[in-house]
Symmetry: none
Subunit: 207 residues, 4 copies
DNA sequence: GATGAATGAGTCTTCATTCAT
DNA sequence: CATGAATGAAGACTCATTCAT
């Protein structure tokens, strides 16, 4: 490998690292203050540079949001797809999906918050059409799983499936708002407790 | 009562009605587009007037949000306080609180959405200190109820109480994002199914 | 006519007058400094208002240019069409077209300068497609006239028609750069001398 | 001559060549898009380098325009001065000046376009004072020639001299906007036809 | 000679707000 | 009560320019 080749690789990697840093900072600020309520200058301040300098790395505020969200969703679907590919009964699949979801909150907390709070507005923009597509795929994945589980006799059949779907969806993702990656409970424990609640309920047994 | 006095009352009432109308419109637009992403002009358009005219009724965008949110919270706490005053065991109280919450989503859907999405940012402003206060009261109300329920043997004791609290809180309020006042399921049915899930779990019995 | 109706008309007319004033100012500044080199603030200064206030009257800098140019072209084609409708031989038609062109420079000097200097760049924008359309119509109008004149024996046949076309076109419009509406020579005199040069040449007769 | 000296000369020459290349590219881009509307980055792109790299060769955007324009004007005046030094009657001089002008359009097309479109704005800057000086010299050269020609009986005396001056000036230079160095008509042919029009007019003889 | 990252001033535009009518 | 015109601050974004490497 020529020295020049090595140089190019080193700088390309360095640039990628810088972009990732800025993106993480941006995600945090967007998550904390809301996308619309955050000025590009606040992002730049948090990243230790001037507002104009951000545009060396990113085209626009929008493309920052785009990279943040698509990075999160790509990662999420990679882990979902692996789980679905494994097969297994509905109950086991549900557990793994929930665990994967909390793990993804652990890795992408600010992105998840952004997704939760802004995806509805952003999806109006054709550039963010993939948000709706993801949402659709997500919904059918869960609806299929829930009806299959009811057929298999694993889940109660007396509940409205789409209500259960929303119930699970909401409770999982909304946790990003309070989840602390350095907190007392690791994501895997939260997932466990969460599954206990969802599956067995909070009522004392035999009640 | 003098005629002039009656006139004054009539116009005061009319003004109050107009304010309420505008406020409802504003709440809807804020809920749909987000508070920061909504311009006062969009609110005015939706209310059938010009931007400047809104300032006859309200002295700022902020005070609209203020009235929307405090109106909702006042109403919510009125119904919560009535339930708490009644007494009753933890399980029954929990049911009534959840029912009251969904009823309040029915009555104040846009306000609830606004509350969910913006209260964190708004609460930074001293004017909205009451949001944090409400949040604090809300938290202790639920924590008390949940620990009492565990003591009474009504609720499982093996779950992290503050996790259960967040779990219930989030799922209830996030429902405002998809609840449709004119939809298939009335708020009371949703509350029932929701309680079934939370109390008994979605797992088939005897599994 | 009701008083309210009269009011509406008065204010609509007043607004139209204000717009026209601003537009004229803008056209002058654009013509003097170039469209791209002129900031919206300079236009606002010249119009005696703040930059933001311009946006009450106009959507964008671009739409100011649009109105300036289309106003000029509409007026120009109205007078051209009238001349073409009259008929007459090629020589007479040419004279009337040239006179109409100088008259239009008199009425729309800054717009003509803007047209000359910026239409090529602006026409890249679909919004300004009409500039190219006008250019095309203009070219065929003149080419038809010149070949008809050569056929009628009124114009020399030994010259390249498209060269003559460009020659006439350019010289007429470029005059907007130095024409002074309050100057020594009125537009009609310039047109006369211009026609003398173009038709008979500057060479002394019998030379 | 020492080898080191030869090296220095070779690199100095290479540098000069690179500068000239870049300058030509810049002139083309400026001519096509307008000076103000062209960013230094577009110039750099066209020259196959990054924006920052241009500053190794030139110290500002302005100095590029400066070199482009002064290069053109120096060349132009060199050929004009040669013609004027030759002497000869007004008619012959006029023909040679016009031919020289079209030849200069052939050699410096983009620079001429730049000159035509931007010299008025640029001349406000003291650095470009020479533009006005050239303009002044140009005007007196032509006015002298035209009045001498009228005195000599070569040119008609019934036309306004300063109008004729502008007429000739404009038609010659504006041709840079459509002249194509590789087109059907070479510059010398255009000059010939142009002279035929200007001197004899487009009217059929004996009309 | 050239690159890549950053600067800081400036651009167009939006928007909450004011106020005379 | 409402309108229409304007304000002024702020926002996203561009760009000529600099400079360490």
């Amino acid at each position: 490998m020529s020295p020049r080749r090595r140089d190019a690789e080193r700088t390309a990697a360095a640039r990628e690292r810088r972009r990732a840093e800025i993106l993480e900072t941006a995600a945090e600020v967007f998550a904390r203050q809301g996308y619309a309520a955050t000025s590009i200058r606040q992002v730049a301040d948090a990243a230790g540079m001037l507002a104009g300098s951000l545009y060396y790395h990113f085209d626009s505020k929008e493309s920052m949001a785009d990279e943040i969200l698509s990075g999160f969703l790509d990662d999420l679907w990679t882990s979902y797809d692996a789980i679905l590919a494994e097969g297994g009964d509905a109950r086991a699949t549900l557990e793994r999906l929930v665990e994967a979801s909390f793990a993804s909150i652990h890795r992408h907390r600010p992105a998840v918050v952004l997704y939760q709070n802004e995806s509805r507005h952003l999806a109006l923009n054709p550039r963010f059409a993939y948000l709706d597509e993801s949402q659709t795929r997500f919904r059918s994945m869960w609806m299929d799983l829930l009806t299959r589980g009811a057929d298999e006799g694993a889940f109660r059949a007396d509940l409205d499936a789409s209500l259960v779907y929303r119930f699970i969806r909401d409770t999982v993702w909304v946790a990003a708002n309070w989840y602390d990656p350095h907190g007392r409970l690791p994501a895997s424990d939260i997932a466990k407790q969460y599954l206990a609640m969802v599956l067995e309920g909070i009522q004392a047994p035999g009640e």
